[in-house]
Each structure stands twice: as C-alpha cells, then as structure tokens.
C-alpha cells in the first residue's frame, strides 16, 4: 500500500498540487483521473520522488519515503516500476536490451537466466519476435507494451503508469488496460495509473481519485462515479455524448 498525506508541490509561483491525501491499495488498480494540466503527472512523479515535494509525507508500506536518504530511496526504487507517458524506452537499445536493462544493473543472473526473464515479460505483454527491433522500428502501442515489460522485469511491488493507453486505438487501449489489471492481480502489486480515458475508468477503476486544479476533488469506485453529484467530476465524466447516453 502507498499512502500520501497532505502533499503540496509548486513550481515557482504556480501551485500545482495542493494538500492531496489519499492511499492506494495492494492488488488493486488505482486510477488518478483529471483534465489535462490538472497535475496528474506531477503527482505521480512526486510520489516516486522525481519531483521533490514542498510539504507532506509519502509512505510505501509504512516506510516514510519522503524522509529517506538517497541510499534508502534507491532500495525502494528497485521495487518500483514506472511506465512513462512517452514510454521513455532507451532508443539506442533494442527491445530485448531495454527489458534486460534493470536485470543487468541490479541482478547477478546469468545471461540465459536474464534472457528467460526478458522473454517471460515480453510474453506477458504479448510481444514476441520483437526482441531485436529498436524502439523507432515498432509502433506506439508496442512501445507502451515494451515499457510495461521493462517496468515489471524486476517483479516490482509497486507499478506506476502515466497514461499507458493515450494515443492508442480503442482495442489496443483496452488490451493494455486489461494487461495492467491482470499483472496487478497476478503479482499482487500496488498499481497507480494516470488516465483521462473514461473507458479505462469503467474498465479497470478499482479506486478512482479525481484531481481538479491540483486538488483531490473526489474519490470512489467505478459504480459510484456514475452517480456522483459533484459538478466538476460530472462535467469530466459526462463530457462525451456516449457517456451522457450511458447515464440516462
């Protein structure tokens, strides 16, 4: 479980996150939703320590991350996988090298053991026969899947995904959503996903935290979200014709 308490983050005079508190449970897909620019990416990067928070506390299973020394943070980071909004694959390395990278850095496995693990992870994301291609040679959806494979290669306890299905067609988007959900259940991870895709919310939203202008505006699950009276959340959820039809 990950818990955050009253975290705030500013860049100069722009207050991006304002006193956000919430928790993300193990074995569940926790979604953070909100409009573009509401602060989702900043929140995710603050939780994993890429942004230094101004105030507040962050706990990884009762260990206070926000107060740790760099050395201890590194230990937590080895148990953490992150899928960046743009994939962030190493573009001078092949698919196989990308997924193997964390194993090279942090394990003493033999090459064959590593290769076996890489193929296992690539198999999990339904990517076979792509081992020797470079990121530039595969499609956006495949890149996202490689990024997921890399994120799970060290068997992380915590998985973070920043808009894992943005820019993908609806079918691939759902495939990726379900993939993340299955991995979460199978490996009992604490998973946190940023999204502004209502399809994902309805598909895999075990717990949903709605961020509006840097504040936590609402939280609940996917059945509650359709009945909410919250004005801002309503306009977010029912922005599309389709969802409006769904309500009535």
């Amino acid at each position: 479980m990950i818990e955050i308490r009253d975290i705030s983050k500013s860049f100069g005079n722009t207050h991006v996150l304002k006193n956000i508190s919430t928790f993300f449970e193990r074995g569940k897909t926790n979604l953070i939703i909100g409009q573009s620019g509401s602060g989702k990416t900043v929140l995710l990067k603050s939780i994993i320590g890429l942004h230094k928070i101004d105030e507040g506390e962050i706990f990884y299973d009762d260990k206070e991350f926000s107060k740790m020394q760099d050395k201890d943070k590194k230990e937590i980071r080895k148990e953490l996988g992150m899928v960046f909004q743009g994939g962030a694959l190493f573009d001078s390395s092949t698919v196989q090298e990308n997924v193997m990278f964390p194993l090279d850095m942090f394990t003493e496995m033999s090459y064959n053991e590593k290769l076996e693990r890489v193929n296992f992870c690539l198999n999990k994301v339904n990517l076979e026969n792509a081992n020797n291609l470079y990121p530039a040679e595969i499609s956006g959806g495949m890149q996202k899947r490689v990024a997921i494979a890399r994120a799970i290669s060290l068997n992380p306890k915590y998985l973070f995904c920043d808009e894992p299905n943005s820019g993908l067609d609806p079918i691939t988007a759902i495939v990726i959503d379900n993939l993340i959900r299955e991995l979460t259940l199978e490996f009992n991870m604490t998973t946190v996903i940023n999204t502004h895709d209502m399809n994902s919310v309805m598909e895999i939203g075990d717990k949903i935290t709605f961020i509006h202008e840097g504040q936590k505006w609402w939280e609940g699950n996917k059945s509650e979200i359709l009945k909410t009276e919250n004005h801002e959340l309503n306009s977010f959820v029912f922005a599309s014709e389709l969802m409006r039809n769904f309500k009535t």
Partner: protein
C-alpha cells in the same frame, strides 16, 4: 550571476558523475562503446584535416622563407613543431568539440526530454554517472592517441607537399624533422589534450543533461555546448601554455 549558477551546477553534476558507479562490468562495456563512438569514429576526420594542415603549413612556411640566409630545413622543423604544439592538440580539440560535443549534448539532451533520464533515475541508477562517466574516461584515454596519429599524419602531409610541389627538398624537410627535437613538447601537447578531452565531453554532457522543453531546446543546448567547450579550450590553451612552457 548566470555564470556562477552554471559553474556551480556543472561541478555538482561532476560530483554526481564521479560518485561510485553501480556495476564495474557494465561501465567497462560502456567505456569500450564510447571509445569506438568518440575515438575510432573521429579518426577519419582527424586524419583528413591533419594531412591537409601539415601540407599547408609546409607550403606556407616555404613560400614565406625565401630569404637564402635561412636554411630550408627550418621548414621541416616548423611543420613538426606547429603540429606538435598547437595543431594536433588545440585545433583537433576544437574540431572534436564540434563533432563530439554536439553529438554528446544532443544524445543526452534527447534522453532528458524523452524522460529516459527519469527512467534511469527511477530504476535507482545514477544517471549522471551512467551516461557521462564512460564518455569522459573514453575521451581522456583515446584522444591522446588521436593526437599522436594527427602529429604523424600531419608531418607526413608536409612531406607529401614537399615531394609533389618541390617547395622544399624532401631531404631538407626530413633533416628539419630531426633538428633540435624537444621531447617535452610532446608531453606538453598530451597534457593539453587530456584537459581538452575532459572539456569536450563534460561540458556538452552538462548542457545536454540540463536540457528542458523540446527538440528546439536540445538543438540550442547542443549549439551552446560547442560554443562553450570551444571557448574553454582556447582559455585552457593559454593557461596551460603559460604554466607548462615558461
């Protein structure tokens, strides 16, 4: 004010670069790759410009020394010492600042804006050390060899010029090459090269590492990287010459 900020941040980055690397074996591989990238791949350009510079120095000295009182073997000596003292260290350094520097700044800059550096950090890898240290070590190791090759090729270029144009008799040129040779000049040249190698890898790495924004900014930091490393090379050339040759 800004220069203090950049200098401070540059040294903080260096401190991160030189903190203990995670895994020696991986660094060894990376260093070998960079030796190929930064060194072997620069060999062609170094050879081409050295041949031509050696030739042109020889011809110009020959045409400017038409006084019969000055012995013509001084042409060979001039070509030799120009290559050793300035050309093969400083000018080659400036050219590599353009080639290698822009390459490093844009590579690391692109990794920054596409979040690859964040990805490294989040895995618990010291990104500064992982990305920059192999480049510095590789250049500091391989650039002295490039310089020595440049010296030989340049002197050879002068010989070819002597042979083909007759501006100076080849035998006089060769005699000049042996005339009052000061071995310390080579040491001086190699010391300079080591400093320049450090500059043309670490300064562009700094500019790339702190890029932000998009492709345009990466282009800009790559230009700044070349400008600043060139200025620093010229500055250190003066400082080191003053320290070493007086």
């Amino acid at each position: 004010m800004k220069i203090i900020f950049h200098t401070g941040r540059y040294f903080l980055l260096l401190a991160k670069v030189f903190s203990r690397p995670e895994k020696g074996k991986i660094y060894f591989k990376l260093i070998l790759r960079e030796i190929e990238n930064l060194g072997i791949n620069s060999l062609g350009i170094v050879i081409i410009i050295s041949v031509f510079m050696g030739a042109v120095i020889t011809l110009q000295t020959a045409y400017n020394l038409e006084n019969p009182l000055i012995p013509s073997y001084l042409i060979g000596l001039t070509a030799r010492d120009s290559m050793i003292l300035e050309f093969s260290s400083t000018i080659v350094g400036l050219i590599l600042a353009g080639k290698v520097g822009s390459n490093i700044a844009s590579e690391i800059g692109t990794m920054r804006i596409t979040e690859q550096i964040d990805a490294l950090e989040i895995m618990g890898v010291n990104s500064a050390s992982y990305l920059v240290l192999p480049k510095i070590i590789a250049a500091v190791f391989i650039n002295p060899f490039l310089t020595i090759i440049s010296i030989f090729v340049g002197i050879f270029g002068g010989y070819i010029a002597a042979l083909t144009t007759g501006a100076v008799a080849p035998s006089a040129y060769i005699y000049g090459l042996h005339y009052v040779f000061i071995p310390f000049y080579i040491t001086y040249s190699l010391i300079k090269v080591v400093f320049f190698a450090f500059i043309i890898t670490s300064v562009p790495a700094y500019h790339g590492y702190y890029s932000s924004g998009g492709a345009l900014e990466v282009g800009r930091s790559s230009t700044m990287a070349v400008v600043y490393s060139s200025i620093l090379i010229l500055l250190f050339n003066v400082i080191l010459t003053q320290l070493l040759l007086t």
